[in-house]
Symmetry: C2
Subunit: 389 residues, 2 copies
């Protein structure tokens, strides 16, 4: 267990308060981050149906594939495993027309929850349309409510123990950027550089072991960097080209993402202009980020500084981070963008990510930040500049 039992109980209390506000009597959370945050469960088992069931009293219940139940018993905080860990048989795995949601409905009914108002995460990677339809069909007395994001929002303000995890991840991502600067050189195949990045990421840093990131390293060069999410191959790094590195250090599933851009040779003038614009925007956004301000305020300050330097950006420039599993390391709650009126509070953690896509490449200089009592703090000490080698 990465956190004290008391912390899990506090999280559950927070989730139950949110359930009561939403009129939900039983929460079925399938998001692996939410499952882990509420119970401690940690395993790469989310490719088969699984969930944590949380009623308004009693321990949460982990439900999943039978062969994963031993992993649950070894990672969850709950102690009465006979009641709180339930596995289903392997016949239910990837074996249509059967679907494990039928088993889940049976369990919910068996526990006496079949007639409740049940919250489900309608818009989640791990809650397919079929899973919903089978669950609804199996629980004719239940009333279903959309609980997408309910637990994610409970996770928005981090405990000091969680922030410590992210600070450890910050040490790791710093080491990853140092490794890039140390080993990258023109002619090096991209996959060789990525191998070095992953090696450092999993080794960790300062005595903190590295966990797997919810997104693989993004490392596009040159024109490929005009595209946001292409992954690597073996084409070599080249002089006169920019490569950006959107990577995360991870410790105990807590992520600290950070991006930097590396240019081989003297960067063209427009890269330097973009660098000045992004740095001015980061500074403006950091000044605006404080308790009481909104996510939109940070975005507005950033966009205004960018505009002063002759640049503009359409997409959001930051998002909430914390505990995560593939395929996304964002929390899918708050974003720094127009219209997001969420009020900042101490303990919120963001990836402030003002990527600029240029005609001939991309520039990313991004910062993980934590909202403090009176402002915002950068979580890393990586030099804030366009790297040139």
């Amino acid at each position: 267990m990465h956190f004290a039992r008391e912390e899990y109980l506090e999280r559950i209390a927070r989730a139950r308060a949110a359930m009561e506000r939403a009129g939900i009597e039983l929460l079925v959370t399938v998001d692996p981050s939410n499952m882990g945050w509420l119970t401690g469960y940690d395993g790469w088992s989310f490719y088969t149906p699984q969930a944590v069931l949380l009623a308004l009293d009693g321990d949460p219940v982990w439900w999943g594939r039978g062969i994963d139940a031993p992993g649950a018993r070894r990672t969850v905080f709950m102690e009465d495993h006979a009641q709180s860990v339930v596995g289903y048989s392997d016949d239910w795995v990837q074996n249509p027309p059967r679907h494990a949601a039928e088993e889940l409905a049976r369990l919910i009914d068996e526990r006496g929850w079949g007639g409740l108002r049940i919250g489900v995460e309608m818009d989640n990677y791990y809650y397919s349309a079929t899973m919903h339809h089978r669950l609804v069909a199996g629980l004719p007395r239940a009333r279903f409510l959309d609980a997408t994001g309910l637990v994610n929002w409970c996770r928005a303000v981090k405990s000091s123990a969680e922030i410590e995890m992210i600070r450890r991840a910050a040490r790791i991502v710093e080491a990853m950027h140092e490794r890039i600067l140390a080993v990258a050189e023109p002619g090096m195949p991209k996959n060789v550089l990525v191998a070095e990045i992953q090696h450092q990421g999993t080794l960790g840093a300062k005595g903190y072991w590295g966990d797997y990131p919810a997104i693989v390293p993004m490392t596009p060069s040159g024109l490929d960097a005009t595209a946001a999410h292409l992954t690597w191959d073996d084409r070599p790094l080249r002089r006169g080209e920019a490569t950006f590195f959107e990577i995360a250090g991870v410790h105990c599933r807590y992520h600290c993402p950070q991006s930097r851009t590396l240019f081989f040779g003297p960067p063209p003038k427009h890269y330097r202009q973009a660098e000045r614009a992004v740095l001015a925007g980061l500074e403006a956004g950091m000044s605006a980020a404080r308790p009481g301000a909104s996510c939109e305020d940070v975005a507005a300050a950033f966009y205004a500084a960018l505009a002063e330097h002759g640049f503009s950006k359409d997409s959001r420039c930051g998002y909430s981070i914390g505990m995560s599993y593939p395929p996304d390391w964002g929390e899918r709650t708050m974003s720094f963008r127009w219209g997001d009126k969420t009020v900042l509070r101490p303990g919120m953690v963001f990836h402030f990510m003002p990527a600029l896509w240029l005609d001939d490449g991309g520039l990313e200089i991004s910062e993980p930040i934590v909202i403090t009592e009176d402002g915002a703090e950068r979580l890393t000490h990586t030099p804030q500049e366009l790297f040139v080698k």
Copy 2:
């Protein structure tokens, strides 16, 4: 493009034949493997809604987030990008109550497909209950049919070009197991060993670069190995303990998974018994695997040999593999298990995975295999044994 244009056209013809058999006039495929198989698209963008639309004539259409459209233009085989690559604006990204499926419905209607019989992958990680509901609401004239697995099944028999990709991935996984044997030693923290495995996996082997696996290395030791899918931390490898390594070499998204088990010191008698049982089971299964036999026949031969050695196993002992994206490297079609009557054909590729969970650990010795004209061929040359060091 990793394959010739003609191969994409042949795949599309195969998918259209399956659509016609199922009475589907427009296929909306969201599975990243299916999207890539049909068009060549390759990017880590599946954490926001995206799809490939395939009507009964014309080019397929890639639809996704605007900032990913440049990545689509750089990877798909289609040439008329104005028609075949469509991006949506960033306001639709993780910004409820809006959902990008509303944009998808608009596009389908705009193309004149709004009144068709539309096949959607109801049970897919990337097709949430909300995505389905919004799509249905936005296309009141359409009739929706479940197309889960439709393209996956088209992928079951691999082309020679695809098998070549898997053979390259096989060279990579061999090198990964060699690296494990070379560097693993008692006292080594698990994450340090995983860093070495990932490093080799991404470096690749024999001149073939390594792509990212759809599942991170599974490397549990001792009692943790009684659980199937726990990931690593920094606890050290220990003498007198078994560690199993369920890993894959990957090249151009094609996976070659393979498992081996390493014991430090002399293995206890029951590990040697389990080894004999698994090897006998593998041999029996390989003898049964040939065109005309069924998936169940392979499982039956394996289970019978296992029983002769006093072991039994509940879960499936193999599954179809090929192109894949997280969170699963299986194709989610055929499995070696009771009741799967799928008839084997040359060009099908499986991970024959007879894992045994013992009371005090686990034993995995697994083989990627391809069905040939008259039997089955192992794809790797990794020694088939319990590794002891």
